[in-house]
Symmetry: C2
Subunit: 292 residues, 2 copies
C-alpha cells in the first residue's frame, strides 16, 4: 500500500496479518491498534508528544529490574490493573484487587498460627479466616501467599534495612480451610514517585497514597487463583486509592481486643501483654469450571 493515509492505516495494519494468526491474538491486536490509532487521531498527537511518550517508556524500562516493576505501577495508576481485575472478577467469589509491583516469588512458609511481626514496632494484628468455595465449603490445602509493608511504609524489596522476605510468607490452609497468623498492622503508604510514573502523578496533581492493606494470592486446586488485598475500614485513603484497588467487600473492621482475648494456637499465644487488633474474614474462591 503506497497511499496509506490517516484514515485507512488501521485497515492496512490489519491487512498485513498472516492467515495463520491465532484468532484471539488477531482480536486483541486489532482492538489495541484501533484504540491506539483512535487516540492519536482524537488528540492530534504531535511529534513532540510522541517523543515524550517514547522517552517515558524508555525511562520506565531503565528504572525497572527484578524488584522494581515500573510498567506494573503505570498500569496500576492508570486504572488498567484494576479494570482487568474487575473484568475477570466473578461476583460469586471475593473481589480481586491489584497485584501491585512489590510481590516477590519464593517467600518462606508461614506455619499455621505463625508470626510475621517479630521485633518490628506498631500495633499487633491477628488475622484469621477461612478459604472457602462460594457456598461456604472450606477448601483444605489452599495456599496463601501473603505480603505487606513494614511499619515504615516500605516493602522489603524497597528497603535495604529489611530481609528480602520480611513481611512475606506462604501459609497453607488446614483441613477446615482455616488460615491464621499475626503481623503488624499495615500502614498507608505512597507508591514510588522517583520514576516516570511519579512524574505523571505530579503533572496531573494526584497524590501517591494507597490505603493500608494486606496482599494475598490464594491458590487452590480446581479453583481460579485469587489476587486480592484487604483494607481496614478506618483508613483515610479508602476513597482515593491512587491505584483504584478498593472494593466494598474487601473493607474489613479491625477489632480492638484486650490482651487476655488473644486466642490459643498461635506462636504468640501467652506472650501478648498489650491490646491487639483482630481481623476475621473468609476468602471465597470460584471453581475453575462452573459446576454443572
Amino acid at each position: 500500500m503506497r497511499n496509506i493515509d490517516k484514515d485507512n492505516i488501521t485497515d492496512v495494519f490489519m491487512s498485513y496479518f498472516g492467515p495463520d494468526t491465532d484468532p484471539r491474538l488477531r482480536q486483541v491486536m486489532e482492538s489495541l491498534v484501533r484504540h491506539l490509532h483512535g487516540f492519536a487521531r482524537e488528540v492530534g498527537l504531535t511529534h513532540a508528544e510522541w517523543q515524550t511518550g517514547i522517552e517515558f517508556l524508555e525511562r520506565a524500562g531503565r528504572i525497572s529490574d527484578d524488584k522494581r516493576h515500573e510498567f506494573v505501577l503505570l498500569s496500576d495508576v492508570l486504572g488498567l490493573s484494576s479494570l482487568v481485575d474487575m473484568i475477570n472478577s466473578d461476583p460469586a467469589g471475593t473481589s480481586s484487587s491489584v497485584l501491585g509491583p512489590f510481590h516477590i516469588a519464593g517467600a518462606p512458609p508461614l506455619p499455621m498460627g505463625g508470626d510475621m511481626k517479630r521485633d518490628f514496632g506498631g500495633p499487633l494484628l491477628l488475622v484469621r479466616g477461612r478459604v472457602t468455595a462460594p457456598d461456604g465449603t472450606p477448601i483444605a490445602g489452599a495456599e496463601l501467599d501473603i505480603w505487606q509493608t513494614a511499619p515504615n511504609g516500605m516493602y522489603s524489596s524497597q528497603d535495604p534495612e529489611q530481609d528480602l522476605y520480611s513481611f512475606h510468607g506462604i501459609q497453607t490452609t488446614g483441613p477446615d480451610g482455616r488460615f491464621g497468623f499475626t503481623t503488624v498492622r499495615p500502614v498507608s503508604y505512597t507508591v514510588p514517585t522517583d520514576g516516570p510514573v511519579g512524574d505523571i502523578l505530579n503533572a496531573t496533581g494526584r497524590h501517591p497514597w494507597r490505603p493500608s492493606h494486606l496482599h494475598f494470592i490464594v491458590k487452590a486446586k480446581g479453583f481460579r487463583t485469587l489476587v486480592t488485598e484487604i483494607f481496614p475500614d478506618d483508613d483515610p485513603y479508602l476513597d482515593e486509592d491512587t491505584v483504584f484497588g478498593v472494593r466494598s467487600d474487601l473493607i474489613m473492621h479491625y477489632d480492638e481486643c484486650p490482651p487476655e482475648a488473644f486466642p490459643d494456637g498461635f506462636a504468640l499465644s501467652g506472650k501478648v501483654k498489650e491490646p491487639f487488633l483482630s481481623a476475621s474474614f473468609d476468602l471465597k474462591l470460584v471453581p475453575e469450571t462452573p459446576a454443572a
Copy 2:
C-alpha cells in the same frame, strides 16, 4: 471511591486530576486512558494477557539502549509513528515519514558534493536537489541530517564492522538551496527481529522487510522540521513496508547514467568509471507559522 466498577473507572480516573493540570495534558491523558480502558473492556483482557503485555514492555526496556530503540520500533510496526507523521503533515510540503530507531545524533559534516560511499561495494548513487519553501523559493542554510544502511543492510549502530558514523552526514544547503552528495544505493532490509517486537511480527505472520530508503531530517530557521525518507520506485517492498512509511510523493526514480554523465563539483567528479544511479528531488518545507 469505594464502589469502583468496570463502567465508572475511567470517570473515577479523571476525577483524580488536580485543578491545576495543564489542559492539553488532561486532554491527552483522558483520551489515552479512555481508549486503554475501552480496549481492555472490548476484548475482555485476561490477567494472563495483561501479564504478557507487562512482560513485553519489560523485555522491550531491557533490550533498549542508546543505540537500540525498541519502543520506537514498536510504534513503527504498529503504524503509530506513521500515523503521527500523517496527522502532522502539511500537504503544502514534502510528506514526512518515520524517523525509525536508527538515527544517531552528532553525525559529521558532509561537504557539498561530498561522498559517503567510500570503499563500500554496491551501486554508486548520486543524490541532488533543493530544499525549498512550498512556492519553490530555495532555502539557503537548511541542514540535512542524512543516514542510511550500508550495503549489508545494517545501519552503523547495528554493525560492529562499521564506524559509528558511516553512512551518516550533515549537509548544509548553499545560497541556492541545493544539496548534493554521493553514496551507495540503499538496500531493502529487515527491522530487528531478535527482540519482543520481532515476536509480534512472527506471531502475526508479518515479514520484517522495509523497502530501501534514504533518511533525512531537514531543519531550517522559520520552517517546520521535516523528518522523511525517499524510496526508489523499483523496490519490491514498496507496497508492504512493515513500518508503513511509504507515501506517493516520496517515491523517486533512480536514473541509470553512463560514467561520462557524472557532473562536476563532486568529490568523485572525474573518478567515476562505471555507470551510476542518479536521483533528483526537492524537499519542501512548510513555514512554522502560516504566511498571513
